[in-house]
């Protein structure tokens, strides 16, 4: 049984390695394409961590298999009586501690960049609002200012661009809200910092854009800022990543990353008449 178990442990370990390697070569079975400025740093931090994970996993499983193979009982022979080895223990603990803490610290750079720094003042301002079960994205329009909103004004019956108050409850009396543009697709210009303000109307949602390597809760009662820069044009998916009720899985939207010219054209075409 000892040899069988050792082989089983080694086979599972090798199988796991092979499976990950194979998944990496298959389309759609590894990370989605990354299209944000911070994504490369995130992916390289992952690769570094994954290497440590692999060494720890294979090292421990290989050693476990070896012990099981080598130290099976033989007749009446007795085991080595030993209560431990403090020196080996201290060395192993020190190595593990240093590696783990080093990972924890290096991992914070990307985070700090993402969350501790503010978006530059010239960032494109957009507001994302989650509700059961869709997203609305609002641009402030030509005046660069969002119109004030009120929960008392929410009106989900008309969600056309010019609707006031509309689903976001834009105050029709507030002049800065007249030119606000909103819709269910997030349209952003390439290579420009975006400052996204997240809101939720009812329950907690989560703005999840796999291609941007971004995920952030949209919390009722809070306005949460998120900033990023997209570096590749195209159409990408947005999902909700916080269980928000019965049709959580259908809370899906698209993000279009376009050139600056196209972005301006889109803004003017969609400005409320």
């Amino acid at each position: 049984m000892g040899r069988l178990l050792a082989i089983l442990i080694w086979l599972i370990t090798a199988g796991t390695a092979a499976f990950f390697a194979w998944s990496k070569t298959k389309t759609g079975w590894w990370f989605p394409e990354a299209i944000s400025e911070h994504a490369a740093a995130m992916d390289s931090q992952f690769n570094l961590t994954w290497a440590v994970v692999a060494v720890a996993f294979f090292g421990a499983q290989a050693a476990l298999g070896y012990a099981v193979w080598k130290f099976r009982s033989k007749g009446n022979e007795r085991a080595t009586y030993s209560e431990g080895n403090t020196r080996i223990e201290i060395v192993l603990v020190a190595i593990t501690g240093i590696v783990f803490i080093a990972l924890a610290i290096t991992g914070q750079r990307v985070w700090a960049n993402l969350h501790l720094n503010q978006a530059p003042p010239d960032a494109v301002q957009i507001e994302a609002t989650g509700q059961q079960f869709n997203w609305y994205f609002r641009h402030p329009g030509a005046d660069g200012r969002f119109g004030s909103t009120s929960p008392k004004l929410y009106d989900d019956t008309d969600n056309s661009v010019g609707a006031r108050p509309g689903p976001l409850g834009i105050d029709p009396k507030d002049p800065s809200g007249k030119d606000d543009i909103f819709g269910q697709t997030l349209v952003i210009p390439i290579n420009r910092p975006i400052n996204l303000t997240l809101r939720a109307k009812d329950v907690t949602h989560n703005f999840y854009a796999p291609a941007l390597r971004l995920k952030q809760d949209a919390v009722p009662g809070l306005k949460i800022n998120l900033h990023f820069t997209a570096t590749k044009e195209g159409k990408y998916e947005i999902a909700c990543a916080e269980l928000c009720g019965q049709l959580h899985h259908q809370m899906r939207a698209y993000m279009r990353v376009v050139s600056q010219a196209e972005f301006e054209k889109w803004l003017s075409e969609n400005a409320p008449k």
């Binding site: 994970v53 085991a79 030993s82 593990t96 783990f100 009812d202 907690t204 269980l243 019965q246």
Partner: protein, 584 residues
Amino acid sequence: MSDQVQTSHAAPKGFIRKYIFSTDHKVIGIQYFFLALVAALIGMLMSLLIRLRLAWPTERWPMLETIFPEGFKDGLMQPEFYLAMVTMHGTIMVFMVLTTAPQSGFGNYFLPIQIGARDMAFPVLNALSFWLTAVSFLVLIAALFVVGGAPLGGWTFYPTLSAIPSAGPGQALGADLWIVSIALFCVASLLGALNFITTTLNMRTSGMTLMRMPLSCWGWFTTAVIALLAFPVLLAGGILLLLDRNVGTGFFIPSGLVVSGKLIEGGGGSTILWQHLFWFFGHPEVYIAILPGMGATSHILATFARKPVFGHKAMVVAMFAIGLLGFFVWGHHMFISGMNPSVAIAFSVLTLVIGVPSAIKTFNWLGTLWGARIRFTTPMLFAIGFVSLFVAGGVTGLVLGQTALDVVFHDTHFVTGHFHLIMGVAAIFGIFAATYYWFPKMFARTMNETLGKLHFVLTFVGVYAIFIPFHVLGIAGHPRRYADSSGYEFLQALDPLHVVITIAAFATAAAQVIFLVNFFWSLFKGKRAEANPWEATTLEWSTPTPVPHENFGEVLPVVHHDPYEYSVPGATKDYVMQTEPNSF
């Protein structure tokens, strides 16, 4: 010592006092064990329903419609039914299985015996704990059947979804029952923890110093300390949530919410407050589930390695370090919650620090096997399996514990894979190891070794086949708790993986039938067990089988040795029992 002697307190005679409302820790331990067994079967069946929907989201199951007419309308599994299964599977497994079996089940039965006590410190309180847990379980099951649907907010029950009854199906009476059930469970666990701590500290027999306690006892003791500090916080959170839902308080509900087209009155609260309260309990809960398994694994590894545990003291210190640090890392569940991002950094670093005592455990298990003469019994196979799974599940914590990487992996199936390996199946392997190991003492019969080994091999391969692919789903970005991923282009390619996981899940579930057959057959027909079939050293093996009322004869055992004196040079046998006088 080995002869059964009439004890000072007479054993209760009637069936009800003896087996139902018993205050005997052994009966209560077995009651907890069977409660967990029933819960585990229900939870497992729910996981199979979850897997059905994920593999074949548009398939019709007319046969299931006859059992669940509403959940399978027109044969199609409804998303609210799927989410209810996700919620209830998680809740049942975490509370009724992983918290119940290893700690309350085996701990109740063996803590007093292993430290040389006649019972728990407070036997009546002990019975009360069990019956509160049983009521809590019934209330939880009732939540499945009430008008308004079963709760579907996930086992984390985040408000405001869970706080506002009008927020869709599953948020009515079912959600109230869920909270009541958890609150009862909290009280039961709190009382249980008090009992375990008092028993460990006050009722050790002569010679049983703290460092001579088996590591299983250290597992239960540490877990009890964690439970004592963690459960009250969840209890408080649960009560506040119940008030929010029924009395109109707004602890977790901010102002200005519009749910299902209606403005919610009141408010002024914070949804993130719930997350802090929940995870202040929820993260230590992970250790409540796994530490007794660690203790049992250490105990069983030493027994069948025929060696003392490598670095016994370091194991005790590591266990306590894990328990302590476990209270300072809850924020790693909340990196993306809107919590202050600077605080997240502190939580992240502390989370990776907790990997260090976890690594000590792993080194020392390997060290215990090094130079051993391993006897490959079924409990030993599961204990070795525990080590393998603990490593497999633990290493991915290095990814999830980092703030920046959590942004990518949070609430994806990478997380599902991670926690199922480490707190799900590793803990379950601890339970299986303990069951096969202590069965001869608990039920005075022996389980079949051939069936046990077959059960191990199939389950060991099965759980890896299920949960390794989850990591790939997560790396590809697949969110958890999706009743259907077919609407998303970036998830299309993953469909075959869902089918593979589902097949592996059904096969692994089928392999559990081998366990059930073995268990129940052995219960009635198994070979009669001797007092010490494994040639082990600790006190539970020095008392006769079946264990007499009040555990020991007239005289309590006296302890002379460390718990794992195997292969001592110069000793006549390869094991020295803790009760053997010094001159051997």
